[in-house]
Amino acid sequence: MPRNRALGVATVAILKAILEGHRFGLDIMEQTGLPSGTVYPTLARMEQRAYLESEWEDQGVAKEAGRPARRYYSVTADGARALNEALERLAALAGVQPRIAGDG
């Protein structure tokens, strides 16, 4: 069921980090400063929603580096569009001046 739901701040940060080249979990965590309990579930959800795709690192490359193969994420066209909308919204949000009393 595709749901047209706006993206939260954490999601925006994660998508942005991936677009900027930080493509696997630990890297994304360090880039965004978000805890693992937020990053990984979000990655799973975004993949479910087809905002993200993932692929496994070539076994040969991993072996050469002497480590298990990594799972790399990339943003889909849908994901990029959603990210842009969310950024626009956040920009609008940033324009709101905090007010002391609700006189409106």
Partner: protein
């Protein structure tokens, strides 16, 4: 360590993806460990453990995404979150919450109460087996339309020949004055033909019912009693079957006790029947075709429609007309379902009340919707921020709906409390004389009704704000937020709601006004006698008083005894007391008047003692009333009322005229006086022609003794009771006051007035709150605009006028719509009103004026505040 945790959490991951999941985490852990290489073991342990907490959350997320439980889980979790959020947001606004809850509780409570009554009385099936097969069968003719009583011989023929009925029984209202046990008592009874209980499908709890054998002339006299009578009079004796039950002149064998759940069908009975006896025991002539006094009920054979049964009976009736033209010419049969006959026109009254209460609920809904709109507008920025933070429009709407339904459910719980109180009160006063009132309870059906009303109410009032306030404009409102602009579409919508509310309130105000007017008029009706300080005692003589001489001796002793009591100023008795429900009709034959056989002359008839008119303080228009000399030894005399004189001797002096009560055997009575009219039936029924005869010349067996006292009513009652006990301890007596009879006759009108008054008061209050809330809100929203206007030179009064004008426009619109709706709806009230038209212009004017005044005050307060808007302050916040 980290790897062991991963293995543990991997079990949550769906099996299909578990291996890949472990691979991913192995790689991540490896990367982490590679980087952390060289740190202390403890630090590494701590880092990897914390890191793998992410694995647990990831595993849980993947588990949740399993297609099987995905929707259920997320919906439930969302709902939980919404509920928590709703609770918090209500706690933050206690004033709003309290007002909304109170409004809802009142609306739902009142609606649930009325529904309990409607459900218990109208919608619940009668408490008999297959109740829709039960019908009433009546005799009908041109002259007496409707379900008229049936002649016994006709009934016997119907029963023998009808093929569409499995049972057909006849009943006759009866009373027995029981003399067994310790105290004489008058028991409301029914004489029935065999198979009566079988027809209703209810078996006796003890013993047997009444059979066809019992109705044969000369059969052993038997009775069946109700559960209530069994408990009350016979101490729930389990071995009661076979006991003797006696009246002064008859001895019966008690053969059965009915279960507690059994009720006699109430179609023709105003009192609860507590005893049944066979028709053979009443002495009524069960072979006559000329006398019609039986009520006939039947059960249709399964599958038979009313239409087929009517055709069946029509054929039988037509054959009877051929065979017995003298008695049966023009006579047809009429069949109606028992359920509708039991209810009479009560369903009309209940439907009207349900309509009124529904309007109240609607007003409550509109009001809470308005409160919600105002709150949603205040929360516009909160909602916009939430949207920007990633909440979807659907989610926010769901949140608002959850809030609405939560609120209305809590209101519903309070409302059910109100309904419990309401139903208890309603049952104990039974103000409109509703049959089956004991069936009115707050049961599962009523509770589910209240639940659905609550949910529907919640959705109804939350839906509008959820759709008006949340939408594509939310982003814009975020940008506009600082400017506090007034959304024109939503403010128009709010004003429409207020207009609707005022319209509904007008309808209730007018209804209340009409009932109040009608009640006042009814109360100011002069009954024609003085009801104050008059004790009445109903007394019924038994077979020990067959001779007129015996009757008169007893009553002379009674009148002498009561008359000599210290505080009693006058005493008399009558066979039929006004407003007490006693009514006897007689044919009259006027000496100098040719009567029309198709439209015979009739009059109400009663026997009264000398001094009756004086004791009742009924004036004599001309002539005299009876005195002690008008006894068996002197000329037969009569008093008529003014209505009689007007009808039969217009413009003539009635005194000296002669009247007979029978055409065949004229016994002439000389009219000696004309009494002024009294309202005999009810205060809202005009006086009809009446004749009064002297008890000294006619004797009397059933009487109401009227004693006017200057002292304490209760003391007088006690002395009178003691006196009757001394004279004859076997006579049952029943005390009342004339005031009570008068009060009873305006009971119904008073109830409608109070109920509608309460509805209207609540409606007025809610409408006032609605107008005030909306106007203050608008003013609040436009504070800056007002400030600018003031800064540009507008007078304070001009600003106030501008706001007030808007409020008055809404009010006027609502009043107009409401008046039209009231005019249309008032037709329903017509039959409940007395002495006032349902279109009485003064009532309409008063109702709308009161509402107008309240609305004006509700507009004026915020308008004044608007006028005071500080120009500098308003501009500074810009």
């Amino acid at each position: 360590m980290g790897r062991r945790l991963l293995a543990l959490w991997a079990r949550k991951v769906p099996a299909a993806t578990r291996d890949r999941w472990l691979d991913e985490w192995e790689a991540e852990l490896f990367a982490l460990e590679a980087r952390e290489h060289g740190r202390s073991k403890a630090a590494r342990w701590w880092i990897t453990t914390r890191f793998t907490l992410g694995a647990r959350a990831h595993a849980a997320e993947l588990a949740r995404m399993e297609p099987n439980d995905k929707h259920g889980m997320t919906t439930m979790m969302t709902l939980g979150k919404d509920l928590k959020f709703a609770a918090r947001s209500f706690a933050r606004a206690p004033g709003f919450t309290a007002v909304a809850l109170l409004t809802l509780a009142l609306g739902i409570g009142a609606t649930t109460t009325m529904f309990s009554v409607l459900h218990g009385v109208v919608l619940k099936p009668l408490p008999y087996e297959s109740p829709n097969e039960l019908v009433m069968v009546g005799s009908t003719s041109q002259r007496i339309p409707g379900l008229a009583p049936v002649a016994p011989a006709d009934f016997m023929d119907w029963r023998a020949e009808a093929t569409t009925f499995s049972h057909l029984v006849a009943t006759e209202a009866w009373t027995l004055d029981l003399t067994d046990a310790d105290r004489p008592a008058r028991i409301s009874s029914a004489a029935v033909t065999g198979g009566f209980f079988d027809m209703l499908g209810v078996a006796p709890m003890l013993g047997r019912g009444i059979t066809r054998q019992d109705e044969i002339e000369g059969a052993e006299p038997i009775v069946v009693i109700s559960h209530g009578l069994w408990e009350r009079r016979y101490g729930s004796d389990p071995d009661i079957v076979g006991r003797r039950v006696t009246t002064a002149d008859q001895t019966f064998t008690l053969v059965g006790v009915m279960p507690a759940s059994f009720e006699h069908p109430e179609a023709f009975w105003s009192e609860d029947v507590e005893l049944w006896l066979p028709t053979s025991q009443t002495g009524s002539n069960m072979t006559t075709r000329g006398g019609r006094f039986l009520q006939v009920m039947g059960r249709l054979t399964p599958g038979t429609t009313l239409f087929v049964a009517r055709q069946d009976m029509a054929l039988i009736a037509a054959a009877l007309v051929d065979q017995h033209p003298n008695t049966n010419r023009g006579r047809e049969t009429l069949i109606e379902p028992l359920q509708s006959e039991t209810l009479g026109d009560v369903d009309q009254a209940l439907t009207m009340l349900m309509g009124a209460v529904g309007m109240l609920l609607l007003i409550a809904c509109v009001n809470v919707a308005n409160l919600f709109m105002a709150r949603a507008a205040d929360r516009g920025r909160e909602l916009a921020v939430r949207t920007a933070m990633g909440a979807s429009v659907g989610r926010i709407r769901a949140q608002l709906l959850t809030e609405g339904v939560t609120l209305s459910l809590v209101g519903g719980v309070l409302g059910i409390g109100i309904a419990y109180l309401g139903v208890t009160t309603f049952r104990s006063i039974n103000p409109v004389g509703i049959p089956r009132v004991e069936a009115v309870t707050v049961d599962a059906r009523v509770l589910s009704f209240a639940f659905f009303v609550s949910v529907a109410t919640g959705v109804a009032f939350a839906l509008a704000p959820a759709y008006r306030m949340v939408g594509d404009r939310s982003l814009q409102s975020l940008r506009d937020g600082a400017r506090g602009g007034l959304n024109p579409a939503s403010s128009r919508f709010r004003h429409t709601l207020v207009a609707v509310e005022i319209g509904l309130a007008v309808v209730l105000m007018v209804g209340a006004g009409l009932f109040a007017n009608s009640f006042l008029r009814l109360q100011s009706v002069d009954p024609g006698f003085d009801p104050e300080n008059a004790v009445t005692m109903a007394i019924t003589l038994n077979s020990g008083y067959e001779e007129v001489e015996q009757q008169l001796t007893l009553f002379r002793d009674l009148v002498d005894g009561v008359g000599s009591m210290r505080d009693v100023t006058s005493v008399a008795y009558t066979s039929a007391l006004p407003l007490a429900g006693d009514r006897y009709l007689t044919g009259v034959n006027l000496q100098d008047r040719e009567s029309d056989p198709s439209n015979p002359d009739v009059a109400e008839y009663s026997t009264v003692s000398p001094g009756f008119f004086a004791a009742m303080q009924i004036d004599m228009a001309t002539g005299r009333e009876f005195n002690d000399l008008d006894d068996a030894g002197s000329d037969r005399v009569m008093v008529v009322n003014e209505a009689f004189a007007r009808r039969y001797w217009p413009g003539e002096d009635p005194v000296g005229k002669a009247v007979a009560l029978s055409r065949r055997n004229p016994e002439w009575y000389a009219v000696v006086g004309v009494a002024t009219d009294v309202h005999r039936q009810a205060l809202d029924e005009p006086a009809t022609p009446e004749v009064f005869l002297s008890s000294l010349q006619r004797g009397v067996t059933n009487a109401q003794v009227v004693a006017r006292t200057s002292g304490d009513i209760d003391e007088t009652v006690a002395s009178m009771r003691a006196l009757v006990g001394r004279l004859d301890g076997t006579l049952p007596v029943d005390f009342n006051t004339m005031d009570e009879y008068v009060a009873e006759s305006v009971n119904q009108s008073q109830f409608y007035t109070q109920l509608f008054g309460a509805f209207a008061a609540v409606a007025l209050l809610l409408a006032g709150v609605g107008v005030y809330g909306t106007m203050s809100y608008t003013v609040g929203q436009r504070t800056r605009e007002m400030g600018i206007r003031r800064a540009l030179g507008a007078e304070s009064s001009q600003v106030s006028a501008m706001v007030a004008k808007q409020g008055l426009l809404v009010t006027t619109l609502g009043l107009g719509v409401g008046l039209v709706a009231a005019l249309v709806g008032a037709r329903v009230l017509e039959s409940f009103l007395f002495g006032i038209s349902a279109r009485d212009p003064l009532t309409y004017a008063t109702g709308s004026m009161m509402l107008g005044v309240v609305a004006m005050i509700a507009c004026w307060l915020p308008a004044r505040r608007a006028g005071r808007a500080d120009p500098m302050g308003a501009l500074r916040t810009e």
